[in-house]
């Protein structure tokens, strides 16, 4: 059946989407918001996104890939934002397998090998 991508913005939309795909492997890439020209305020996210996208073809069948924009920079910097509080995210970009302790944070997302390992191994 292949895999499917969804793009969401903000915590409530993310949670609704993740919950609606309960039962399937869900991979999420969290990035900072993009401006009108499509450029994120988060430079590491700008670097990571193409590297992660290049590995998407390795996603197992039936997977869901959620590309989630977390918000603007002031929202992210607030230590009480919902992503930090509820999902325990510590930085952007974060690439994780939802519902497991498996995740890659910041520069780890630059390494194609690690991204591939997250997508393909148990």
């Amino acid at each position: 059946m292949g895999w499917v991508e969804l793009q969401v913005r903000g915590y409530p939309e993310f949670m609704r989407t993740a919950q609606s795909y309960h039962g399937r492997p869900i991979f999420v890439l969290f990035c900072g918001d993009k401006d009108a020209e499509g450029k994120s305020w988060c430079p590491d996210c700008v670097t990571a996104e193409p590297i992660v996208r290049k590995e998407l073809h390795n996603l197992p069948d039936e997977s869901v890939f959620i590309y989630c924009l977390v918000g603007d920079r002031p929202y992210w910097k607030d230590p009480n934002n919902e992503f930090k509080k509820n999902l325990k995210l510590t930085g952007v970009p974060t690439l994780l397998k939802y519902g497991t302790p498996q995740k890659l944070v910041e520069e780890e997302c630059f390494k194609a090998e690690l991204v591939r390992m997250l997508f393909t191994e148990d």
Partner: protein
């Protein structure tokens, strides 16, 4: 490197062992580490630092109850880490009780939820398993979740959980396969009992528990289970904490008894039967006295066996490469450079004969070994004066000789023991025991009253002991200790 290999090897010996399998003259890897635990991973990561081509094989044979776990070995998955977290859970329960005396008011009764604790602990362990896999991949160490065994010189067979076999060769090997809990060999033991391998991921609260054994594993588990509010009994064949200072061991036992843990002394189980199925069910245990014909019976929800651990050395093909093991114990004797009788095969960690079974020891041995092999270092692992802590309800930290061993080695007239009871300030207000915490140092009179043994029984014993271990390594004497002004008010000032 091929040249070096030929000089080290004893071709005569290789042909004796297995004349048919050829010795390869170039290898798949510089180093293969069998076992992805504390020692194995430390050695593998260190070797990768020096640009070596390394493979780690790690495989967990499921327990009789079906439990299994990820990369990281005993400490991370079914040892130190979950143990300390559950011990902490029990301490927090005690703290909640104490807090009322310090003015905290809460009207609800305090209860403990086993599943909540276990899920949190297992989540943390999962993040550690993942962290190790990222670390290995990042340092270009090849990791295979496969069972490794020797099939011939320099050659290993790796079998994964689907049964697929692959052969690999390496110039050198490090065996770091660790141990697994021992069973009793009595009817019903494997079918109905659990071990520490199962306890930390048990998907239901163990309920009324019988712990069989008097090892630190037995006492630590009994301790935190009781601290979480469960009805716990410990069945002991003879003494507590064999190998540890017996004066301290008895104090630990007394404390546990006074705090609601039942002890059945001088009995061994002879039969386990199931009375009722369930999670947990009800088990009936029959036990025989070690001093007479008396037989007793008891019913418990869970029986936890903690009677010892056996090295995983008997089914890894050591005979195919001629590595000698102690046939009785399964342990591997090594020289002071962790080398087995086969020059290109080394061993580290719990499987070593006559060495301490501790994570930091395995890590240190692994790192130093690899530095000697690949970085021209000469430092050997120092196994003397290694500090340890037992996380029983009253924690026990120790470094150096027990009183008995000091007397045996130096003679009673040549050692001086200084000791005192102390009452932690935090225990005064909630009226906790005022004569249980205890510390003693054992000094060698003939050597400037050098401190050769340090023992402390009290809260935060591990934290207290670590600093003293460094001082002992520097040759601490009683006079230096006396001249060190204490920090007040802390337990360590005693």
């Amino acid at each position: 490197s091929v040249q070096a290999h030929k000089e080290e090897d004893n071709p005569q010996k290789t042909m004796e062992v297995n004349g048919l399998t050829p010795v390869p003259d170039s290898y798949d890897y510089d180093l293969i580490v069998i076992g992805g635990g504390s020692g194995g991973l430390a050695a593998a990561k260190e070797a990768a630092k020096y640009g070596k081509k390394v493979m780690v094989l790690d495989f967990v044979t499921p327990t009789p109850q079906g439990s299994s776990w990820g990369l990281g070995g005993t400490c991370v998955n079914v040892g130190c880490i979950p143990k300390k977290l559950m011990h902490q859970a029990a301490l927090l329960g005690q703290a909640l009780q104490d807090s009322r005396k310090f003015g905290w008011e809460f009207t609800e009764e305090v209860k403990h939820n086993w599943m909540t604790m276990t899920e949190s602990v297992q989540n943390y362990i999962g993040s550690l398993n993942w962290g190790y896999r990222v670390a290995l991949r990042d340092t270009k160490v090849t990791y295979e979740n496969a069972y490794g065994e020797f099939v011939g010189p320099h050659t290993i067979k790796a079998t994964n959980k689907k049964g697929i076999e692959k052969l690999y060769t390496a110039e050198r090997f490090i065996i770091a396969t660790g141990e697994r809990p021992r069973y009793l060999s009595i009817p019903g033991d494997k079918e109905y009992c659990i071990s520490s391998d199962d306890l930390f991921s048990l998907p239901y609260c163990p309920g009324k528990t019988l712990v069989v054994g008097a090892s630190y594993v037995a006492l630590e588990c009994a301790g935190f289970l009781a601290g979480l509010g469960l009805d716990v009994t410990v069945m002991v064949r003879s003494i507590l904490l064999r190998g540890f200072d017996q004066d301290m061991a008895n104090k630990i036992g007394e404390y546990m008894k006074e705090h609601g843990i039942n002890f059945i002394r001088q009995f061994v189980p002879i039969k386990i039967e199931q009375v009722e199925e369930g999670t947990p069910g009800i088990l009936k245990i029959t036990a025989k006295s070690t001093t007479g014909d008396q037989v007793m019976e008891g019913e418990y929800n869970t029986v936890l066996l903690a009677i010892g651990r056996d090295p995983c050395t008997r089914k890894i093909g050591l005979d195919k490469v001629g590595v000698r093991i102690n046939e009785k114990t399964g342990k591997i004797p090594v020289n002071d450079e962790e080398q087995t009788n086969v020059p290109y095969i080394y061993a580290i960690g719990d499987i070593l004969q006559d060495k301490l079974e501790l994570t930091p020891v395995a890590i240190q041995a692994g790192r130093l070994l690899v530095r000697r092999l690949y970085a021209g270092a000469t430092t050997k692992c120092d196994y003397v004066n290694v500090p340890t802590t037992v996380f029983t309800p009253l924690e026990y930290g120790a470094c150096g000789y027990s009183e008995e061993t000091a007397v045996e080695k130096f003679g009673e007239e040549n050692i001086e023991v200084y000791h005192s009871h102390f009452w932690p300030l935090e225990w005064t207000v909630p009226s906790r025991d005022n004569n249980k915490c205890y510390a003693k140092i054992i000094c060698n009179i003939q050597d400037n009253e050098r401190v050769i043994g340090f023992h402390v029984l009290g809260p935060h014993a591990g934290e207290v002991t670590q600093g003293f271990a460094a001082a002992i390594k520097c040759g601490l004497t009683k006079e230096q200790l006396d001249n060190t002004i204490g920090i007040h008010p802390v337990c360590a000032e005693v």
